[in-house]
């Protein structure tokens, strides 16, 4: 089965982690994306456009993936870990989206007439 044939080296040196060279580039990319996000927030034309929300979502997803892949070493580590993380993540996102649809119809009224 899938999980059985992971890397069999001992965990102490299971994988060659990237080094400072890579880490600093990752940090730089993260900084740039964040700066761009905040900048976009202050451009009224952008905020008003229909692309604003998808754009922000994509950028934050990109940051998310970068951190997980490089800083959490998911790119280099055992396949098992990828499964342990992405499975739950998918269920969590599906649940979140489902909830947003289901609960969108509620109207806060306070009391009743």
């Amino acid at each position: 089965m899938a999980n059985d044939h992971g890397s069999h080296a001992s965990p102490d040196h299971a994988h060659e982690h990237p080094t400072w060279k890579q880490y600093k580039w990752v940090a730089l990319i993260l900084t740039v994306i964040t700066a761009f996000e905040v900048w976009a927030y202050y451009v009224p034309a952008l905020v008003a456009s229909p692309f604003f929300v998808p754009m922000l979502l994509i950028m934050s997803a990109a940051k998310f993936v970068i951190v997980v892949m490089f800083y959490m070493h998911l790119k280099y580590d055992n396949r098992l870990f990828k499964a342990l993380f992405t499975g739950p993540l998918i269920i969590a996102m599906a649940t979140l989206i489902g909830l947003l649809f289901l609960l969108a119809t509620h109207k806060a009224e306070g009391g009743i007439g």
Binding site: T105, H106, K107, A108, E109, G110, I112
Partner: protein
């Protein structure tokens, strides 16, 4: 081996159960959901029958197979070592696909039925607003300008659309013989509609089906299906203000003011006849609609005191008691409360306190005397008012200082309330 006969007995139970189900449609089971009285229930029953058809096949197949296997393959002394099978792809595919096919036969009518009853009520539907309260029902007919409680009148043949809301926690509105249930809650407005098109003038029980606190079991109501003409008469009666004392029809227009009322003398009362609209005849109520809840032990009122109740005195007593802070009687200018049920036409109702008791003088008197003993209530609802009674929530004894009423005063109020037809 004894083990083999078990599911057979079960099959026998099920076989015996089917006729029971049929019998369930008869009068022996007055709250049965298996009726054909509305479009909703015909639809739901059609679906149920479809499902039962397949369910019976699946059930019989599984249980018979199980019994057969148990009988056929039980261990026999000296029997051969069983053939070792590990699986059979064709068989396994079969019992994956067949249930899937059965489910299609169930799912298609299900989906049709969902859309049929959830795409808005017919335009000509009668509009009824239902508001759930802990633990009673408020019914409003906005077109007819009616506010009433715990008893519904529905014209036969016309679709009725309920708008469902709640004043507090979640409740659920259900008349099993007419339709499925829908929840009532705050910050969300629900609807439910059906047409009582295959029904004679009849009385039904309804109940609350979402657990809503201490008296959830006691949150019942009644529904009457009546002819359009009777409905109109009832509606006209309910829409009118309460008239007290009841004056000759020509003399007093609806809505006499307090001063005129106070000035009226005893003989006008005697001369008056109540002008009420149609009410479902008490004599035609089937037994299951008449409440049989026993009166709690230790709660009494003497017959002679009760008989001596005087409506005039009662009117005045009522109008200066705490009642007016919670109850509304249109036509009685001091009675403006909105917390409790509208009492304007209390006398036209057949039941009391959300279907818990028959609406007669004794029950009414005991209710006023110690409502919290008659029905488990919250500290925010109808208080215990009889002098000397112990409030089951506050554990205090009611005194005059706390607004306590003597049996005589209560009897007077009862006499007054009974005139509100």
């Amino acid at each position: 081996m004894t083990g083999i006969f078990r599911p057979r007995q079960l099959a026998a139970i099920v076989a015996a159960a089917l006729p029971l189900l049929l019998a369930a449609c008869s009068g022996q089971y007055p709250n049965s959901t298996f009726t054909q009285l509305t479009d909703f229930n015909r639809d739901a029953n059609g679906l149920w029958n479809t499902m039962m058809f397949w369910a019976t096949i699946v059930f019989v197949f599984v249980e018979v197979l199980l019994v057969y296997v148990m009988f056929k393959f039980r261990r026999r002394p000296g029997g051969p070592e069983p053939v070792q099978t590990h699986g059979n792809t064709k068989l396994e595919l079969t019992w994956t696909v067949l249930p899937a096919v059965i489910l299609v036969f169930i799912a298609v009518p299900t989906v049709k039925s969902i859309w049929r009853f959830q795409s808005g009520a017919p335009a000509n539907a009668l509009q009824v607003d239902v508001i759930g309260h802990q633990w009673w029902w408020e019914f409003r007919y906005p077109e007819q300008n009616i506010v009433t409680a715990n008893e519904l009148y529905l014209p036969i043949g016309r679709p009725v659309n309920f708008t469902l809301r709640s004043a507090d926690v979640i409740h659920s509105f259900w008349i099993p013989q007419l339709a499925g249930k829908r929840d009532l809650m705050r910050n969300r407005t629900n609807t439910l509609w059906f047409t009582p098109d295959s029904v004679t003038p009849q009385a039904f029980n309804g109940s609350c089906n979402e657990f809503c606190g201490a008296s959830h079991a006691n949150m019942r109501f009644r529904a009457y299906t009546v002819s359009q003409a009777d409905f109109d008469s009832w509606a006209a009666g309910q829409a009118a203000n309460a008239i007290f004392p009841v004056a000759p029809p020509a003399a007093a227009p609806a809505g006499a003011t307090a001063t005129t009322v106070a000035a009226t003398t005893q003989d006008t009362v005697a001369a008056a006849a109540p002008t009420a609209g149609y009410a479902f005849p008490l004599s035609e109520l089937p037994p299951h609609v008449l409440p049989k809840t026993p009166i709690p032990a230790g709660l009494t009122i003497a017959d002679d005191v009760l008989a001596a109740g005087d409506a005039q005195r009662g009117f005045q007593q009522y109008s200066r008691s705490s009642c007016i802070g919670c109850h509304k009687i249109r036509g009685n200018p001091s009675s403006l409360g909105v917390i409790g049920p509208d009492l304007t036409h209390l006398g036209s109702r057949h039941t009391l306190a959300a279907g818990l008791f028959p609406n007669d003088a004794r029950h009414l008197a005991l209710w006023i005397k110690n409502a919290r003993k008659m029905k488990p209530l919250a500290s925010t609802s109808m208080p215990t008012l009889g002098m000397g009674e112990i409030d089951p929530i506050l554990k205090t004894t009611v005194t005059a200082g706390l607004g306590g009423l003597t049996d005589q005063q209560i009897s007077d109020i009862v006499a007054y309330l009974m005139t509100l037809k």
